[in-house]
Each structure stands twice: as structure tokens, then as C-alpha cells.
């Protein structure tokens, strides 16, 4: 099996889906000739031409809205928002339109569209190139939000998102793009949306997280194993709607839960995970549910001191895991 990077898995999934189905096309800013500012669509313009790898005018609401129109017609657009931070002008199209089309038309129309966007910090991106925006969309029934952690998951989940008959927001951690590498089968495969994945079996504490933080937790778990602390790590993969069954199962394994996100603490994905645990797992718990998250400030500052203070890292995760184990 070939070892490829997180971003190469994105490109491979797009390429294979475009080869498989002529209805699949890519649209966004700089996705064509340039191959994307992160190079996620590298090579696609040469292979598929400018009609299927469409450089759009710089206008995010139109990228989403035109994608929705094409999807309602029966195409499978994959729209790229250059940075998750820039999805905001398209929020009306995503929430008022894409999310509600099937419901409001009583199943007459649907929007089989995927919107990809790089999110997350630790790349000196400051306030507007670092944000995690999933919480904005995570109480909008009709949407699915996928946030993979590994190249294997990226390829399988992006393919599944493109083939899904409902709108999917597919958030890719931009620092993971070249940092994270992993084995990815060359053949075609998909992974189910809405299903969390156990990334490490353990019996002492449970960590539930997603995205780049999965790797921080895995690294910390290896260190803690040397101290005799055995961590169970659940990767949510789809952060909306949540895989409640997998959450309940993972919590009941150890009775001690740490929830981690790079996003702000209040009102995020892990707050909802915490509510699921409260409703279902009270008598399984041996410690209060602990949340480890970014501070509640608007976003990550530019200066390295402040960025590092905001950003999640393996040391913060390790400390939180140890504290919980010792509770």
C-alpha cells in the first residue's frame, strides 16, 4: 500500500471520482490552472479540462449557490472554499438552501453537493486563516459535516461524500495536509458517513476528538502507555450528525472521558458530545466529563506566542489525559 499525504488523498479521491462519474466536477477560486492555493486540485485541470475544473469569480455565495443549482439539476459538484474562514458569505446558501432543499420540497428536490474547505490553525494564519467553523453548521439538520484525520479516512470519506445524495461539508485540516501521511489503498473504497472510528483500543481513559487532534491524542497515548495509562481513542470523523452509539460505547469502556477540539470551548461539537454522554452514560462515569479546547476568544492571533497559546498541541493533550487518568 502506498504511503501518501493527507492532501494527496484529497486529490486522489477527486481524481478517481471524476474518472468514475462524468457528473462530478470541481468549482472554486484558483482550483483550475493553479490547482488550488494548497494544490488540492493539482493536475485535475490538465486531465479534465476547464469545464470540469472551473475557476469561478471570487464570490463564495455564488460558488455555493451555483453548486446547489447544478446539484439540483443532477450534477455532483465539489465546491472548494479557499479557507473555511471564507465560507461566511455562503452561509445563507448552505443553511437556508442546501440544508433545507430536500425537507422543504417534501423529498422532490435534493442537493448532492460536497463543499470542501481547509480549516484549522498552527500555520501562522491568524484570525482569518485558522478558524474551525464546524460549530456554525452543526445544528442544521439536512447537512452532514465530515472532518477526517488520516489520509485513509480522507480518501474513503471524500468519495462517500461525493456519492452522497445530500449536502456534505468536508473540512480538511490544513496543517494536516503535508504533516500527516499514511497508507492508502490504490483501489476504490468508501467509508460510511455518520460513523465514528476507534483509533486506539484502551481501558483506562476515553478520548473523543476529531481532525488533527486525533494525532495529538495518539502521540500522547503512546507516551502515557509507558506510564501504564491505557487510552481509548474515538475519532468522530463525522461531527454532524453525531454517531451517538459509538460515543456511548466508547464512554462505557472506561468511565473517564476527555473531549478535545481545536475550536473554541463554548457551544462546539464536543459540547454536544458531552450532552449525549450526560443523557446516556451518567452511571458509567467515574469522573466529570472533561473538555479540552481553544479559549473563548474570536480566533487565533498571528504572533507566535499567542498562536501557540491558542493552538492545541500534544503536550496540552498529554497533560489533560494524565490528569484525567489520575482523577
Amino acid at each position: 500500500m502506498a504511503v501518501i499525504s493527507y492532501i494527496q488523498a484529497v486529490t486522489q479521491a477527486l481524481k478517481e471520482e471524476m474518472e468514475r462519474d462524468e457528473k462530478v466536477f470541481v468549482l472554486g477560486e484558483d482550483v483550475g490552472k493553479r490547482g488550488g492555493v494548497f494544490r488540492a486540485t493539482d493536475g485535475l485541470y490538465d486531465q479534465f479540462g476547464e469545464d470540469r475544473v472551473l475557476d469561478t469569480p471570487l464570490a463564495e455565495s455564488a460558488i455555493a449557490g451555483v453548486g446547489i443549482g447544478a446539484a439540483m439539476y443532477g450534477m455532483r459538484p465539489v465546491a472548494e472554499m479557499q479557507f473555511a474562514d471564507f465560507i461566511m458569505p455562503a452561509v445563507n446558501q448552505i443553511i437556508s438552501e442546501a440544508a433545507k432543499t430536500r425537507y422543504r420540497s417534501n423529498n422532490d428536490w435534493n442537493v448532492p453537493m460536497t463543499i470542501r474547505a481547509p480549516y484549522g490553525g498552527g500555520v501562522h494564519g491568524a484570525l482569518y486563516h485558522s478558524q474551525s467553523v464546524e460549530a456554525v453548521f452543526a445544528n442544521q439538520p439536512g447537512l452532514k459535516i465530515v472532518m477526517p484525520s488520516t489520509p485513509y479516512d480522507v480518501k474513503g470519506l471524500l468519495k462517500a461524500s461525493i456519492r452522497d445524495n445530500d449536502p456534505v461539508l468536508f473540512f480538511e485540516h490544513k496543517r494536516a495536509y503535508r504533516l500527516i501521511k499514511g497508507e492508502v489503498p490504490e483501489e476504490d473504497y468508501t467509508l460510511p458517513l455518520g460513523k465514528a472510528d476507534v483509533k486506539r483500543e484502551g481501558s483506562d481513559i476515553t478520548v473523543i476528538t476529531y481532525g488533527l487532534c486525533v494525532h495529538f491524542a495518539l502521540q500522547a497515548a503512546e507516551k502515557l502507555a509507558e506510564e501504564g495509562i491505557d487510552a481509548h481513542i474515538l475519532d468522530l470523523r463525522t461531527v454532524y450528525p453525531l454517531d451517538q452509539e459509538a460515543i456511548i460505547e466508547a464512554v462505557s469502556k472506561t468511565g473517564k472521558v476527555l473531549l478535545i477540539t481545536e475550536d473554541n470551548k463554548e457551544g462546539g461539537i464536543i459540547s454536544e458530545v458531552s450532552a449525549v454522554i450526560s443523557e446516556n452514560c451518567l452511571f458509567d462515569l467515574d469522573a466529570p466529563v472533561k473538555r479540552l479546547a481553544g479559549p473563548d476568544v474570536p480566533s487565533m492571533p498571528y504572533a507566535p506566542t499567542m498562536e501557540k497559546y491558542f493552538m492545541m498541541n500534544p503536550d496540552k493533550v498529554e497533560k489533560a489525559m494524565r490528569d484525567l487518568a489520575e482523577f
Binding site: V66, A70, M72, P77, Y103, R104, N165
Partner: protein, 330 residues
């Protein structure tokens, strides 16, 4: 006898009479909805009155077997032309399960019916404009020759989605017809407080497309403009912006009171130009709408509206728990 204006447009006597019939039908359904609202039987009405000529004139210039319509909430004339029935509209008014627009989920005026290529819409205005562009883009990619027809109000032409969508269609030369139904009011705010330019059609130049302003009370003028725009679209010459100027004869909706912001004289003056009156006069002058035909048409349409009202009133609501369905594919 007045000059025959429809023959030179390629329209037969039967076709113009049919256009008038559809305009009348829209008006009669709308009037019935208001009665039902005031009788406490339907919670909400939003009217097409005053805009039927633009809606029907435009629709008849399109290929209603293959073109796509993305109407806004006043477009009863458009959806009737594209194949929605009186019964469908009444079912929507009463929010009954059989309503093809939404199964009673949306307020009336939120049209959508896939089999007739009427694309589902929402309440935040102008979101349908980029959708129309996306459908046209898909058609171009699939080498189809349909056009995508989208309507909205003059107030809506201030929304970013209009500008973003129009620019996208202009850049990619897509077969989209943008039709502004300028009824001179965005709820209570008159057009001079909405637009810094003289006409909405002035905005077309910024997006590399032709823009025309036509008399929205004249179905033949609108027909001519839309026909030409459809030809342009099908020939690969790109989009067109058409502004059809008429007047909103009713309050914004059943929950509005327009006496708080406009004079009765102004409304009375506009009623003299009401297309239901002026187009009927034209057809009478042409001996197309004879007294006999008019009586016959009135009886036929009244019967249709009565039957549809009775049917919809007696039809079942959706099961309460069906509110849980169709969030995602099932």
C-alpha cells in the same frame, strides 16, 4: 380596429387567448385566496395581482417542455404556465399533504415541482438566482439547449446573490434569463429608495449582458423581450436581464396594510393600467375575446377555482409525525 400586435410576434389568436386565460386564472385564484384568508380559512396570502402579464407573457416565450423556471413568491402566473394546476395551488394554500410544492411544509408562494422543472425556493430573497445560474451551467456542461428563467423583485436586485449570480452567468456566458418584476415596492419601501440607478436594467452592463426595461403590464412586450433573450441563450450568446415594470395592486401580503405607506390615488391610477383590464380590451378590439367567449371562460375558470377550493379544503393534512421525514435521503 386597433393594430394587431401579436401576429408579428408569431403568436396565433388561440395563443394570445390562452395567455389571457392563464392571467385570468392566476387573478381568480389569488382573489379566492384573499377571501379564504379573510374568512379565517388560510393563514397567509402573498399576491400576484398586477404582475400576471409579466409572468405569463414571459413564460409563454419559453419552451415549457424543457426550460427551467426559478420563480419568486408572487409568480403564480409563471407556475400555472409551467404546468402547476389550480388544485396544486389550493392544496398549497390550505397546507395539505398533497401539495406538490412542499406537502404543506412551506407557506404559500414557495413554489416547486420537479416534474414541471419549477425549482423549489425559500423565503430569504434572491437565493434562487445563483441556483438558476448553476442549472444553466449544468445544461451547458451536458450540451443541452434549455434556458434557465429566474425572477425576483426590484428590491431583491440589491442582494449580493443577484450580483454574484449575474456576474457568474456573464463570465461563463450561460443561458440564463434574469427577469426583475419591478412592482415599485419592496413591502413599504418605494423604488427610489431601493435603487441609485434609474432602472434595474442599467445593472446589466456591469455583468456583460444586455439589459432591457419593458412595460410589465403588456404581456406582448414581455413576450417579445423574453423570446429574444431565450434565443440568445440557446444560441450560446449568454444571459439577459429584463426588467418588467408594473405595479403591486395588493398589500405586500395578507399581513400588511399598504394604507400606511401609499396613497389610494396612486393605487387607483395603477388599476387603470391593470393588464387584466387592458389586455382584455386589446383582445376584444381584435375580436378574439368575444362576449360569448368571455362568459364561457369566466364560467370555466370559476368552476375550476371552486372545485379546487372544495377539494383542498377537504383534503387531509400530513400526519404530524411526518414532520420527521426527508431531512436526509430515506
Amino acid at each position: 380596429m386597433a393594430e394587431n400586435r401579436h401576429k408579428s410576434l408569431g403568436l396565433s389568436d388561440e395563443q394570445v387567448l390562452d395567455m389571457f386565460r392563464t392571467m385570468m386564472l392566476a387573478r381568480k385564484i389569488d382573489e379566492r385566496m384573499w377571501l379564504l384568508n379573510r374568512a379565517g380559512k388560510v393563514p397567509f396570502v402573498i399576491s400576484c395581482q398586477g404582475q400576471e402579464a409579466a409572468q405569463v407573457g414571459a413564460s409563454y416565450a419559453l419552451d415549457r417542455e424543457k426550460d427551467y423556471a426559478l420563480p419568486y413568491y408572487r409568480d403564480m402566473g409563471v407556475v400555472l404556465s409551467f404546468g402547476m394546476t389550480v388544485k396544486d395551488l389550493m392544496l398549497s394554500g390550505f397546507a395539505k399533504a398533497e401539495d406538490p410544492n412542499s406537502g404543506g411544509r412551506q407557506m404559500p408562494g414557495h413554489f416547486g415541482q420537479k416534474k414541471n422543472r419549477i425549482v423549489t425556493g425559500s423565503s430569504p430573497v434572491t437565493t434562487q438566482v445563483p441556483h438558476a445560474v448553476g442549472i444553466a451551467l449544468a445544461g451547458k456542461m451536458e450540451k443541452k439547449d434549455f434556458v434557465s428563467f429566474v425572477t425576483f423583485g426590484e428590491g431583491s436586485s440589491n442582494q449580493g446573490d443577484f450580483h454574484e449570480g449575474a456576474n457568474f452567468a456573464g463570465v461563463h456566458k450561460l443561458p440564463v434569463i434574469f427577469m426583475v418584476e419591478n412592482n415599485k415596492y419592496a413591502i413599504s419601501v418605494p423604488v427610489q429608495k431601493q435603487l441609485a440607478c434609474e432602472k434595474v436594467s442599467d445593472r446589466a452592463v456591469g455583468y456583460g449582458m444586455p439589459g432591457y426595461t419593458v412595460d410589465g403590464n403588456d404581456p406582448l412586450a414581455v413576450y417579445e423581450a423574453v423570446k429574444e433573450a431565450a434565443d440568445r441563450g440557446r444560441n450560446g450568446d449568454g444571459p439577459t436581464l429584463i426588467e418588467a415594470v408594473s405595479y403591486r395592486l395588493t398589500p405586500h401580503s395578507s399581513d400588511d396594510d399598504d394604507r400606511t405607506y401609499r396613497e389610494r390615488d396612486e393605487v387607483d391610477e395603477a388599476k387603470k393600467k391593470d393588464s387584466i383590464v387592458t389586455f382584455a380590451n386589446y383582445l376584444r378590439e381584435q375580436n378574439i375575446l368575444t362576449e360569448e367567449k368571455e362568459t364561457e371562460m369566466n364560467e370555466e375558470l370559476n368552476k375550476l377555482v371552486n372545485e379546487a377550493t372544495d377539494y383542498a379544503e377537504n383534503a387531509a393534512y400530513a400526519e404530524a409525525e411526518s414532520a420527521l421525514h426527508y431531512v436526509y435521503e430515506e
